[in-house]
């Protein structure tokens, strides 16, 4: 079981202007991740960029790990330009992933933008009776649609500009569903940008719907040592890399 290892780029597929799927083949046997866990990736051997960057595991099997990467700054731009055969240095799997749903509950999987990466592994394991809510600013920021449909018919797409699916935010789409579908015993599994996370916490708290949310915060160590990645919870600051990245929404009601 290896938590610090090298992995070679097997493929790097540009799925949109800013999104790419990076498939890596680890040099040795490495620990299997759980949905919602992440890896700290060192993009360059040089001192610039200096720190590792966190990425959620998208898909894996014995021979490979896949990540969905959205270009945000320097490290992600470098990752987009990686070529087959190049080597990365990985640390992981890290953090606490999504807990299994309680018996009888209906999982509602919610993703905003690149947040799909974090919840995607749940779709394969829970999709039989789960609904998937997937939103983005526009259709060009959505990806893996066909693969999701391969697992479930219950995909609810929404875009802010209405270019695909419902026009509006994914939180609005979910709220509408909760209020009208009559689903009993829902439990939400979500990941998305900060604005969506805030809206979701409010909406679920208001309705008393339980849920788990994967949070993003800037990280340095990824293992709980630096206290750099804390987020405010009802019981004070908690480390996203250790106590998270997945938190019970009730802990996050700020």
């Amino acid at each position: 079981m290896n938590r610090l290892f090298k992995a070679e780029v097997v493929s790097n597929t540009h799925v949109s202007d800013t999104l790419s799927i990076l498939k890596l083949s680890p040099a040795g046997a490495e620990a299997a991740p759980a949905p919602g866990q992440f890896y700290m990736v060192r993009v360059s051997e040089t001192l610039d960029p200096l720190l590792r960057r966190p990425f959620s595991i998208l898909r894996w099997d014995e021979a490979s790990l896949e990540f969905l990467i959205k270009v945000r700054g320097r490290a992600t731009a470098l990752m987009r330009s990686l070529k087959c055969g190049e080597e990365l240095d990985l640390l992981g799997p890290l953090g606490r992933g999504f807990p299994p749903p309680p018996p009888g509950a209906t999982p509602l999987i919610v993703a905003g933008g690149v947040g799909i990466a974090s919840v995607y592994p749940l779709i394969g394991s829970l999709a039989r009776d789960a609904h998937v809510f997937y939103g983005a600013p526009g259709m060009r920021e959505l990806c893996l649609i066909d693969e999701i449909r391969g697992h479930t018919e219950r995909l609810h797409i929404s875009t802010d500009d209405g270019s695909l699916g419902l026009k509006g935010s994914v939180v609005e789409a979910l709220a509408g569903f909760l209020d009208t579908s009559g689903v009993t015993n829902p439990v939400v599994y979500a990941c998305g940008p900060e604005g969506m996370a805030e809206a979701l916490i409010g909406m679920l708290t208001e309705r008393g719907v339980p849920g788990y949310l994967s949070i993003e915060e800037r990280m340095a160590c990824g293992v709980g040592a630096c206290l750099g990645c804390v987020t405010r919870t009802v019981s004070g600051y908690r480390r996203v890399c250790r106590e998270g990245p997945v938190f019970d929404v009730r802990e996050l009601s700020r």
């Binding site: 001192l47 293992v223 750099g228």
Partner: protein
Amino acid sequence: MRLEVEIGRLRLRNPVMTASGTFGYGEEYAGFVDLDRLGAVVVKGLSLTPREGNPPPRIVETPAGMLNAIGLQNIGIERFLKERLPFLRRFDTPLVVNFFGDTVDEYVRAAERLSGVDGIHALEMNISCPNKQAGWSIFGTDPDVTHRVVGSVRRVTDLTLIVKLSPNVTDIALMARAAADAGADAVSLINTITGMAIDIRTRRPKLANVTGGLSGPAVRPIGVRMVWEVSRAVAIPVIGMGGIVSAEDAIEYMLAGASAVAVGTASFLNPTAAIDVLEGIKEFMTDQGIEDVRSITGGLIEG
């Protein structure tokens, strides 16, 4: 090959320590590093009572460095003794507890509480953290105040007392002398350098605390210079740190005058950094036919 070094009455099996705040309470990296191979483990700074620390964002990357504004979050001495010390006691490696206070009295009470506890081998007094905004950052920038607070702590503890100096001063040798005169067994430096970064689109500071402490390779030339200045000014051992990533960097600090070194930010890039530095020092000694690691200390040839 002799790797042992002495810091006060503390014997380290080798000169490579961890830097406070970058190695948690030891447990976080125990899966990557055999703590029994380290010279010493230095834990995150503790205060008498728990501290919540600053709001996030607390860290931001900068060119070859990073800023942090953790704000000295810690679980407090009592919880540390109860919850964390038992794990650390399982190892044979000296444990150095880093601590701080808001007043001289708090420093003294913290030192008293930590002394005589089984499993704590030395104290590192942080008089230099630039994150706190209260007037107490003066502890590390005014030699008279430094002398007073170090002297007060010295009177209440028999443990090896290391004083950690701030680099945010005009004359660091002066500060080191104040600490040495007041009875410090060693000084460690450098702590982080106060810095700042701004998001030009939001126009807001990238750290919620506005300013933070710069660490990492970027600061190494400053750290090496300060260790050199301090080691020529005081007779007590100097522990060098600031941007050490490789054995080469550690040896640079030792040549400048450090008796031991600490690996900080590098652990974030490379969880086994401290051990890699140690192995590299051994290789260097073999290559160069150096028998005793202590002969590297202060070995700079000038002129």
